[in-house]
């Protein structure tokens, strides 16, 4: 294991690989900065470059993008009170008040430093978990892997936010069905191609991702055509004071990062839920909580550390079992398939150094991203005043040309537009898009595992202990989703009031037992647009309603 780790580091620090890591970091910072983009769309725009690349630089680039996506989303969260991604929503509560008090530099410095250490601790967690999980992963056979894929899809489907409790699962099933289009894996025939040559190889992942996520988001961005910040922010001092705050609250960082990794490893629990849970836990773990919500630096440090460590958690089921924990991981999974890398037991058995490359890339990318944010904070802050009307047309062109790289066929453009229209319809219906993408990505893998399982074990596959356990968990999740949606939705409810109810109850009982002050609930604006209107100075509404793009978090 140590040799593999050192070999991976030696490969990663080659100049070309570092260059691609840096490219991924830059794109990730930009994608996190602009509300509406995020990791999935940014990664989809980079995927066309992945074709034909070696695995190491390609993985470094993709991980570099995902690792820092949650670092730059702090800029709009602090400066304007609008999160760059849903994971940055909790930072608004204390980050934006700090900015209004003239301490924007301090808030950003603390956020960047906490993010960096969160990412590094997440990478360390990967290094620790991989050798521990190796025997478990290798013990999993095709039946267990098939059931894990179904479990992951069910989790994401149930936990994804939407109007109907099972709309997510319905879309997941639709994604699975769409993945069957093209040549069948176990027999020489084509399914659902209707004689159209373009469909023989199925639909390219890049086009599905761009259509479902990029088109609706880009159109929405340009439709609003509002700068994300009216502040021509020149951030002066305070960032090192913020960094010092992080060292002063080092155990908060460690605690938040570990919890972020654990929660991130659960499919369907996105960065938004993690940061809100951490905000709630952070605010409740101190006696003096009078400043939370009014500019307490701890309210920035805790969520930001958890936000970045969540990425490491997401990578665990994705890399070890091939079950993406969310939309961005589904895109990453698709990228790995394009590289010819199959996540799961085969990755551990045949290419452990590549797995280690992921962990090293996570650590290095977080360090690099934080350094860039520290050094170029004023220039980056100025990006928040770019009108979408100037930026989005370029992104639209990049999207079109990127889509064309899939098969160099004009059908790419047609399919992109059709799926884009579908993606808009899904968004407009208030349904989550992540399950569709995950179903599409998991479809071929699931079908292959199913065929292998039936060939090797027949009906006895259903009697295997692993299958029974995972199947029972899946059914439990589905039943909970129907019978107790409120209880299950508290995992995904983005407000501290709704999130971690059982945890808060436990804390309250402990405090009552030891005669400690009982916590007060924290209310937040109904969404970040309300936060924008209210200046995020005072909470204006109660309820478990979402912050802006919280519904998109699972979609990233």
């Amino acid at each position: 294991m140590l040799e593999a780790a050192l070999a991976a580091l030696a490969a990663l620090i080659q100049p070309t690989n570092l260059l691609f890591l840096g490219l991924g970091v830059l794109v990730g910072l930009a994608a996190g900065l602009i509300p509406g983009l995020g990791g999935s769309v940014g990664l989809a725009l980079l995927l066309p470059l992945v074709y034909g690349m070696d695995p190491v630089p390609a993985m470094a680039m993709m991980i570099g993008l995902l690792a820092v996506n949650n670092t730059s989303d702090t800029f709009p969260a602090v400066l304007l009170g609008v999160p760059g991604s849903a994971g940055g929503a909790a930072t608004i509560l204390d980050g934006h008040p700090l900015a209004k008090q003239g301490q924007a530099g301090r808030a950003l410095g603390a956020a960047f430093t906490a993010s960096m250490f969160g990412g590094i601790i997440g990478a360390i967690a990967l290094f620790i978990v991989i050798p521990v999980a190796e025997p478990i992963v290798l013990a999993a056979g095709s039946p267990e892997l098939f059931m894990l894929a179904i479990f992951g899809l069910s989790m994401v489907g149930i936990l994804s936010r939407g109007r109907s409790p099972i709309a997510g699962i319905l879309l997941g099933a639709l994604g699975l069905l769409l993945s069957t289009l093209g040549s069948a894996p176990a027999s020489p025939e084509y399914r659902y191609t209707f004689g159209i040559g373009y469909l023989v190889d199925g639909l390219p992942l890049v086009i599905v991702v761009m259509g479902m996520f990029a088109i609706p988001e880009l159109i929405e961005l340009i439709r609003r055509d509002r700068t994300i910040s009216e502040i021509g922010a020149t951030l002066t001092g305070g960032r090192f004071e913020g960094a010092t705050d992080v060292f002063r609250h080092k155990w908060l960082v460690v605690r938040s990062s570990i919890i972020g990794v654990i929660l991130g490893a659960i499919p369907g629990v996105g960065g938004s839920a993690t940061t809100w849970i951490m905000y709630g836990l952070t605010s409740q773990s101190y006696r003096d909580k009078s400043k939370f919500g009014k500019g307490d630096i701890r309210g920035v440090i805790g969520p930001e550390a958890a936000n970045n460590s969540t990425d490491a958690g997401h990578l665990l089921p994705t890399l070890l079992f091939g079950v993406p924990a969310g939309a961005s991981m589904a895109v990453l999974l698709g990228g790995m398939v394009l590289l010819g890398v199959q996540p799961g037991p085969q990755l551990i058995q045949n290419d452990l150094p590549l797995l280690m490359t992921v962990a090293w890339s996570l650590a290095l990318a977080n360090i690099l991203g934080t350094a860039i944010c520290f050094l170029l904070r004023n220039r980056i802050a100025k990006l928040t005043v770019i009108r979408p009307g100037r930026l989005v047309p370029f992104l639209m062109v990049a999207m079109m040309i990127g889509a064309f790289q899939s098969t160099a066929n004009l059908g790419d453009l047609i399919v992109l537009l059709v799926i884009g229209a579908f993606g808009w319809g899904v968004q407009r219906a208030g349904w989550p898009r992540a399950p569709f993408l995950i179903g599409f990505v998991l479809g071929p893998v699931s079908e292959r595992y199913l065929h292998i399982s039936i060939d090797l074990y027949g009906t006895e596959m259903l009697a295997r202990p692993g299958v029974l356990v995972i199947g029972a968990l899946t059914i439990a999740i589905l039943v909970l989703g129907f019978i107790r949606p409120k209880a299950l939705r508290t995992i995904q409810s983005p407000t501290p009031q709704g999130v971690g109810g059982p945890i808060r109850n436990l804390v309250r009982r402990v405090r009552q037992r030891f005669d400690l002050p009982v916590t007060e609930s924290i209310t937040v604006p109904a969404n970040a647009e309300s936060a924008e209107e209210s200046g995020a100075q005072k909470p204006t509404a109660t309820g478990s309603a979402a912050s802006i793009d919280a519904a998109k978090d699972n979609e990233r």
Binding site: L174, L177, R223, Q427, P485, K486, R489
Partner: protein, 174 residues
């Protein structure tokens, strides 16, 4: 105590559910033509999809209210954010611009269509000046040429422009 209340029916939701149901039913019927080994997965998924689509349809039209909670409605309301309330007309307009870009690339090729499209879009939609629009379009063309040469990108060659992709590829080993 859970308060049973549901959000009002969503027309897009109903349309989407009906579309999903139609797709699953069609897929189920079409899959009967496949060999058995190729049938299992699409038939299984389609059958489950039909059931799910029926349940969601009943939900969307209000026949079923089971499983709704106050927090769920709040979630639904909150997830019905500005982006999901985009006016249809506005969305169609920008989608039409994308269709024009795609059509232009198919007919004229990317090297011609992209700068022309960008110029027109920047001036008439983004309300930029003529000069700035032209500069942005030229800058995009330059970036396309450089990236295509370095990364060996594929560019659409228009039907009307047989030699539309004149950009030489430079071999740089990564």
């Amino acid at each position: 105590m859970t308060t049973i209340r549901r959000a009002k029916a969503s027309v897009p939701g109903i349309i989407l559910t009906a579309l999903s149901l139609a797709i699953f039913v069609f897929a189920l019927i079409e899959a009967q033509e496949f060999r058995p080994i190729s049938q299992w997965f699409p038939v299984g998924v389609s059958a489950i999809g039909v059931v799910l689509a029926l349940v969601v349809t009943l939900w969307e039209v209000g026949v079923v209210t089971w499983g709704v909670s106050e927090s769920l409605e709040a979630d639904a309301t909150a997830s019905d954010s500005e982006s999901s309330r985009s006016p249809l007309r506005g969305w169609l307009m920008y989608m039409a611009w994308l269709v024009v870009l795609a059509a232009g690339m198919m007919v004229l090729g990317a090297v011609i269509a992209v700068p022309v499209w960008l110029f027109v879009f920047f001036h008439f939609v983004s309300k930029e000046s003529w000069i700035r629009s032209a500069l942005y379009a030229l800058a995009a063309l330059l970036v396309i040429v450089v990236l295509t040469a370095l990364l060996h990108l594929f560019l659409p060659i228009g039907y009307l422009v047989p030699s539309g992709d004149w950009i030489p590829r430079i071999n740089i080993r990564f």
